[in-house]
């Protein structure tokens, strides 16, 4: 009866059969049943991973979204203990009125708690708070052979490290306890300033990042020549006063998937030009709601549908500080030359706070993320981009990936062998199958 599940980018096209779990007590039986019937399975949260890391190699996923109960909350200490299928939006809806916020949030609030751990997600405050995994106090991990294990910085430490950023392969995260951070208001004091090239971006980042909790930049990846590298730098902080209000904006929805992508060169150029022009040259300050600041795309439900039936791929890499500027310039040059581009290419300086996770994506350096409508010519472009990233000592983000080669992956993530050694044999994703062989 349930509709098949897909990854967010809908590429590769691989419909997944959902096996829903509604109670924690059902998990062991369901895991055994799926492993025996299909060889292996994979936990699937709310389908916000872009590529194939959330797709089971057997196409039979253990759907965790219905495990959405809170187990215990402590509003004195800002500690939430909840089942893994709870979304970040659901946590925020309860935390904000009590004066707490997620220490780290990605660009969507529709990811699940389990997914945020498995991908060790990061956000606009990576330079001050690290990744989501830095704030995970403990979690319950169900392993096929060993049953339920509690993992924390002091218990089952090897599995704790391997599971944070472990792409759901070390076991099923059944529940987790996370630390929140106190806020006085749910509004964000933000300011934006335009920059006309990458050098200016790096100067702004060096100046503004240390002063602000949140920092991110949008870059016009279609701009060439004199305009190359132009963009908008955005910083923000939780407002020191104001109300504690939960997101109640009305949501729009893309009702269906059009046969072809609505994102094409013409619409992109027009959008990017308009976005650039909508920001004044002078630095401007404003106060916005947290949801408008962090989750602008969440307002348009199923926005991934606008890319049509073929779907899209996101390319996200991080380049170490030493080579960041030169390599990013080179990446943007190749992308602009290819004429294939993206709305809102996102540039973000990551900090040096180490994640407890073995396979965490961020490193001290600059992360670049772009969305491309899926077409055959992407493969050649990505090969060129991959060569630049590898040469610069950078790496790609598995949560977004649908293309990287096994050789590149294993070079970029030498800890992969440790993860493979701790992988639960009953779990296997299409991504993992692709990159370890």
């Amino acid at each position: 009866m349930s509709d098949p599940l897909y990854s967010w980018g809908r590429f590769p096209y691989a419909p997944q059969t959902a096996h829903a779990c509604s109670w924690r007590s059902e998990l062991p039986g369901l895991l055994t049943e799926l492993a025996e019937a299909h060889g292996s399975t994979l936990p699937y949260g709310n389908g916000r991973s872009y590529g194939d890391s959330c797709l089971a190699s057997s196409s039979q996923v253990l759907h965790m979204r219905s495990l959405d109960r809170f187990i215990h909350v402590d509003w004195q200490q800002g500690i939430v203990l909840a089942e893994a299928g709870v979304t970040l939006a659901e946590i925020l809806a309860m935390a904000i009125p009590n004066g707490w916020f997620l220490c780290v949030t990605p660009g969507t609030q529709f990811a699940t708690l389990g997914g945020a751990i498995a991908n060790d997600v990061h956000g606009k405050n990576h330079h001050v708070r690290g990744t989501f995994g830095n704030h995970v106090r403990r979690f319950g991990l169900l392993r096929h052979e060993q049953g339920m294990l509690t993992c924390s910085p002091t218990e089952n430490t090897d599995l704790y490290a391997a599971t944070i950023g472990g792409l759901g392969l070390t076991g099923i995260i059944a529940w987790s306890e996370i630390q929140l951070m106190p806020i006085r208001s749910s509004q964000i004091d933000s300011s934006v300033v335009r920059f006309s090239n990458l050098a200016e971006f790096f100067t702004l980042s060096a100046e503004l990042d240390p002063q602000h909790e949140y920092s991110v930049a949008w870059i016009d990846c279609l701009a060439k020549g004199a305009h190359a590298g132009r963009g908008v730098f955005i910083v923000g902080d939780h407002a020191p006063y104001g109300s504690l209000e939960v997101d109640a904006r009305s949501k729009l929805q893309v009702p269906l998937t059009p046969p072809v992508s609505l994102i094409n060169n013409l619409s992109l150029r027009a959008f990017n030009e308009a976005y650039w022009r909508s920001h004044p040259a002078q630095r401007t300050f404003k106060r916005s709601s947290y949801d408008a600041f962090f989750y602008p795309l969440d307002r348009l439900l199923y926005w991934n549908r606008i890319y049509g039936r073929k779907g899209f791929q996101q390319y996200q890499c991080v380049i170490p500080d030493a080579t960041a500027q030169a390599a990013t310039e080179e990446l943007l040059r190749v992308i602009a030359e290819s004429g294939q581009g993206s709305f809102l290419a996102v540039l973000k300086r990551c900090g040096d706070i180490a994640s407890p996770g073995l396979m965490s994506f961020p490193l001290p350096g600059t992360s670049l993320a772009l969305d491309f409508p899926q077409k055959a010519s992407l493969a050649a472009l990505f090969t060129r981009l991959d060569a630049i990233v590898l040469e610069a000592g950078g790496r790609l983000y598995p949560a977004k990936d649908a293309h990287m080669t096994g050789i590149d992956f294993r070079q970029a993530y030498p800890a992969w062998e440790q993860l493979e050694a701790l992988r639960d044999p009953s779990l296997m994703s299409r991504f993992w199958n692709r990159v370890i062989t």
């Binding site: 009866m1 349930s2 509709d3 829903a20 509604s22 109670w23 924690r24 007590s25 219905s66 109960r69 809170f70 187990i71 215990h72 909350v73 909840a82 309860m94």
Partner: protein, 246 residues
Amino acid sequence: MKRVLIVGATSAIATACARLWAEQGAEFFLVARDSEKLEQTRADLLARGAKVATSHTMDAADFSSHADMVEQCRVAMQQIDIALIAHGTLPSQQACEQDVELALREFAINGTSVISLLTLLAKQFETQHCGTIAVISSVAGDRGRPSNYLYGTAKAAVSTFCEGLRARLYKVGVHVIDIKPGFVDTPMTRGLPLPAPLVVKPEQIAKRIVKGIENKTDVLYAPGFWKAIMLIIKLVPQFIFKKTNL
């Protein structure tokens, strides 16, 4: 602050409704068969803002335990503002056709046990002179369809009982709402070949149910489009209806 009794508190539709009441700081008396699931539901509602939540383990098929449950609920909350009867099963029609005992057992859980509970609750509500009794029946009770008529018969009995009870309790200021969900994506319906466009999430109908209870609706189809669908199905004459495999 609302005081809410829920029988079948671990069911997906009941949970979705309870979460909406919890946000308003409601007080709960939660009844279900499985104590572990009940405890998890209770903890969730407390975390979501419920002021108090008492859990009570009871198998609705054990009729002799009903009176004690209602009494304990009365002691715990004094007054019941909303009683939501949400327990039930979805029996296999084919299995029921072959096994009289199974058929009667399924009828008891979906039909008679509800009548028993409503009879006891009616006495409590009569003394209160206020409050709402909300019963989850089903669109399946509107017509005896060959694919599902044992379940439908039990739900029809509940709906007819509610109609009479509503007219009786109206005079003393108590409201009875009969809620008729269509296809809902819950553990109960998992694995059934339901038409995807008509299937909704429990959260979607919970909002409608909570609002329907507030507005003192008499009969509530959820989602609303089922009212139109069932109107058409009810109008199909017998000589055609008997030829269908609905």
